[in-house]
Symmetry: C2
Subunit: 304 residues, 2 copies
């Protein structure tokens, strides 16, 4: 049996990845959800994205939302990040007060072109500029490798593409890295193989992983990642966040389901389970449809 | 990384565990579901249970259903089993033509009393008699340890109780064994620990595992079991089969979700994935409500 870490840092991505493909909800509703998630004890949140408002209308209020984050930095110590897809997005995020930038690069050309109109190599070539913009302003950068296992257009992603993106980021002093199963197709064995293969390349740079539960294997993949040494995982309350390539399917792995599994494995987390279930219920009410979370239906373990 | 097996035998339990807490459906509907599941290529099915018709009305037609199994033995080579909870149930199953008996023993007293009106030790004490009944008729017996991790009444199950049930079965020449997460609370680390702990005790006797996805960790637990050497897993098409202690929660792990994960891990299975998704759709139509299967919504992996 692998050695499990003592603690896993969960980053809640409800407000960005979770809401991204939902019909836009008002800023007041986002602030209600933010408050509920902050109450879970989570220490990192992906707050929004600075991308094209016409392409992602649900996150068009990024600057307005960003103006509300300082109170949670002060009161809860939460670190907020925002996703960007270009140098201009990085500048906008920093101007709005974000000090932690996620730059997402699709390892597969098909998804990269559909998402940002660039090949993967072209998107990778922007890494140095984005890191420079952030570091010049005292901000940090996480490079996230999207479609790290499969692309909805190109099929399985060649492993070398993942290595190319990670290597470029490492060479330019990236602060954090992550690998993302953007369309929810990977499974634990492939996760183990990828994490073990890239670990020597990235050295001491923190590596996170991002899974969707689209085909039911999200938690199994998360546990495989943790067993292979990953100590940072993304999740959303309720499992918010669908997949544009699989309408009606599950979204991100649910924060509360992940907390249940990790806690039951003796791994420490920052997130309180009952508070996460409460936040999932808030999310479900605000988006107005059932969310796929298991704990939201089943509740915590029944103990006699 | 653990060594994964080359092949995992999936037993479809849709007709028994899947339908057990559903409103009863007509025999004709069960036969339609049986035909759809047989078309998946699965080689073992839990067909029904010979238990009190008043306690489990959904399976009151066990003898009538059993009369239809021979054609699938002949045409598809499927091995059918039936669950029993007493020596009398074993006799009824054998009289109905079943040659494979599952005797379920709850390792926890609370669940055992609620389920069969006996303590776990009293239920364990019936193992020799049930094995004798079966073997005298040329039938085989699998002893299934229910509530192997947690009981809805007693909390965590003492590991020694699981060992006691397994040991008694081994001493009396049981043919197969299984450990069951009856209420869907276990997680991969505990699964690994239990499988590793009981493996020396059971030697060469085939060991299966049975998981519910009630708290989202069913597939993660199944993968942990397989990684620890288990090569027999129960599943139901669509994830049929709720939990009486968590109304509205998910049921058994879904056959098609399990097949997707195992196939993607390079592990051979008897079950064809598109046929399993078709059978899940049949199950959903017959029970008349949404089933929790992921693949039923997301479909197979999208390959460009």
């Amino acid at each position: 049996m692998s050695t499990l870490p003592e603690h896993v840092r969960i980053r809640d991505v409800s407000l960005r990845d979770g809401l991204q493909i939902e019909d836009p909800i008002p800023l007041s509703a986002k602030l209600e959800l933010l408050a509920a998630i902050a109450a879970t004890g989570v220490q990192e949140m992906e707050a929004t994205a600075f991308v094209s408002p016409s392409k992602v209308p649900a996150l068009a209020d990024a600057p307005e939302l960003a103006a509300h984050l300082q109170e949670y930095r002060d009161s809860h110590g939460i670190e907020f990040s925002a996703l960007v897809a270009s140098p201009n997005g990085a500048k906008r995020a920093i101007a709005a007060g974000l000090s932690s930038i996620e730059y997402v690069v699709s390892a597969a050309d098909g998804h990269s072109r559909a998402n940002v109109g660039r090949t993967s190599a072209e998107a990778t070539a922007l890494i140095p500029e984005i890191i420079a913009i952030a570091h010049d302003s005292g901000a940090t950068v996480e490079v996230i490798v999207a479609t790290a296992w499969d692309c909805p257009f190109d099929g399985p992603t060649p492993h070398q593409r993942v290595v190319d993106v990670l290597s470029t980021a490492v060479q330019h002093d990236v602060d954090r890295l992550a690998i993302a199963d953007t369309i929810g197709t990977t499974t634990p064995r492939r996760v183990t193989e990828t994490v073990e293969a890239v670990s020597p390349l990235i050295g001491d740079i923190p590596l996170g992983a991002h899974f969707h539960n689209t085909r039911g294997a999200g938690l199994a993949s998360a546990y495989a990642a943790v067993s292979a040494g990953v100590t940072r995982l993304d999740a959303s309350v309720g499992g918010l966040g669908g997949c544009p390539f699989a309408p009606g399917a599950s979204g991100n792995i649910a924060t509360e389901d992940l907390v249940y599994l990790l806690r039951d494995s003796g791994i420490g987390v920052d997130v309180d389970l009952p508070a996460a279930i409460d936040a999932a219920a808030v999310a479900q009410r605000l988006v107005g449809h059932d969310l796929p979370s298991s704990l939201l239906r089943a509740g915590d373990r029944i103990l006699g």
